[in-house]
């Protein structure tokens, strides 16, 4: 009969399919994937899939794998055990007072899982088929980066400036430099100058007249030279080289060479 021929063809196709499964077992993504693939042989909407038939197909698949001595991962075997249990639940009427969910509930959940997995696969395929960036849609080829231009501005306060200057000048007290000595006559210089001329000075003469050439006019220089020369006269007086006198307070200071007999 036509029908029986069809059935035979169907079962042959099933066998071929299940053998393909077995050969390809490594290519499957777990027991749920195998179940989903097996369910396709039922050629019905996933919502109408016969879980009982599916359980039998799966158990056949595991059996065939065993005969072919293909080692199945533990979760495939766990699924087989669970499906065997489900099968018995579906075939045997529930005993009154029996605990746990019914076979129908379990079957419905498995059907839900299969449908959900299939749905995820379908949308994954739709997702991957979208116009994708770098394939159908393209981003800008020449981009301009926002350059973070770091502008460094330097700053200093008047305080920094003055502190800086003060720092240098504080250092300078130990390290005199020529520039600032321009208007200063040192004691040594005054002594040198005075020693040279005092030998000829027999009469009293104003101290101011002994200031070195060029130091008497500029007030700054004059002040420094006066002080240094005065200090020098004291030094020479101590050495006994000259004598000095002052008529009154704030009167002019006079000096002369100390007489030999003095």
């Amino acid at each position: 009969m036509e029908q029986s021929q069809l059935d035979t063809a169907q079962s042959v196709a099933d066998r071929v399919a299940s053998e393909e499964l077995i050969v390809d077992v490594d290519g499957y993504e777990g027991p749920l994937d195998v179940l989903l693939t097996l369910s396709r042989t039922q050629k019905v909407d996933l919502r109408q899939v016969s879980i009982l038939q599916l359980a039998e197909q799966y158990l056949g698949f595991v059996e065939a794998a065993r005969e072919l001595r293909i080692e199945l991962a533990a979760d495939y075997l766990v699924m087989a055990a669970w499906l065997a249990f489900l099968k018995s639940r579906l075939l045997l009427p529930a005993e009154p007072g029996e605990e746990g969910p019914s076979g129908e509930e379990l079957a419905a959940h498995l059907a839900f899982q299969l449908e959900r997995l299939q749905a995820m696969r379908d949308v994954a395929a739709r997702l991957m088929a979208r116009d994708r960036l770098g394939r159908e849609r393209f981003a800008r080829g020449i981009t301009e980066d926002v350059t973070h231009r770091k502008v460094v501005t330097y700053t200093a306060t008047l305080l920094d400036l003055m502190q800086g200057y003060a720092r240098i000048r504080t250092k300078d007290e130990f390290r005199p430099y020529v520039m600032d000595r321009e208007a200063i006559l040192t004691l040594e210089q005054a002594l040198d100058g005075l020693r040279k001329i005092i030998g000829t000075q027999v009469d009293w003469a104003d101290l101011v007249s002994f200031l070195p050439l060029g130091w008497a006019t500029d007030p700054k220089k004059r002040r420094s030279a006066t002080a240094a020369t005065f200090a020098a006269t004291l030094e020479l007086a101590k050495e006994g080289k000259l004598e000095l006198r002052q008529e009154d307070s704030f009167a002019k200071l006079e000096i002369r060479k100390r007489s030999r007999d003095g």
Binding site: G30, D75, F112, L117, R121, V123, L127, R137, R140, E144
Partner: protein
């Protein structure tokens, strides 16, 4: 999101000028530019959202388009002209079936834990699969699930939306149908109701998808 309109002492440039600025900024970047980034770069008082909207309309039907990607905007070539760009095609690493499925599960079920992905696929998710998606920056970690063990969740990124040309996660193909069919529900296995299967409809998920759509 309403553009924060700060009161400013400075006159913002005319809208047409703002549009030019938005255009220059968008053209200069390969990555989507967020409204916040626009605001940072455009003169004070500008209204980036208006400027970008003007620009989006201006480029309708042109060879390049202004597209919205999450909270950001980008210019992309029109998909129908992709054939001209063979040269620019970047060789994308072929994703494994596991990676593709995992990506779809994250996209449609986000935020989703690793355990939930495994439950849906019926098989363990290898570390490499998740790592690959993280590396592509198509998924990232979301908030931890407030269930025992506080597992991490995964969600898709703006790069994901950009890559697949989605304005937001709500635009995922078939999302409404899947939801209507109850296939996005986290339905616990019978007899496992006592387990920590979490709420049937994750509050976070609704929030996540709605957040996108509100803006």
């Amino acid at each position: 999101m309403a553009e924060p309109q700060e009161e400013s002492l400075f006159e913002a440039p005319p809208l047409a000028e703002q549009e030019r600025m938005a255009e220059a900024i968008l053209f200069a970047s390969a990555e989507p530019v967020s409204l916040m980034e626009f605001a940072k770069r455009m003169p004070h008082g500008s209204s980036p959202s208006e400027a970008v909207e003007l620009l989006r309309r201006r480029y309708e039907g042109r060879g390049v388009q202004v597209v919205k990607v999450g909270q950001s905007f980008a210019i992309r070539t029109a998909p129908d002209l992709g054939f001209l760009m063979q040269r620019e095609t970047v060789e994308v690493r072929k994703l494994s079936r596991a990676a593709i499925e995992t990506l779809a599960i994250v996209a449609y079920h986000q935020p989703v834990t690793r355990a939930e992905i495994e439950e849906i696929r019926g098989v363990a998710v290898s570390r490499g699969t998740v790592d690959q998606l993280l590396e592509l920056e198509w998924i990232r970690l979301g908030r931890r699930r407030q269930t025992p063990g506080r597992p991490v969740t995964f969600i898709v990124t703006e790069q994901f939306l950009d890559h697949f040309g989605l304005e937001n996660a709500r635009d995922l193909p078939g999302l409404k149908e899947l939801r209507a069919a109850g296939l996005l529900e986290n339905r616990p296995a019978p007899g496992k109701e006592d387990d920590d299967a979490g709420p049937v409809v994750d509050e976070n998920q609704d929030e996540l998808f709605n957040d996108e759509s509100d803006t």
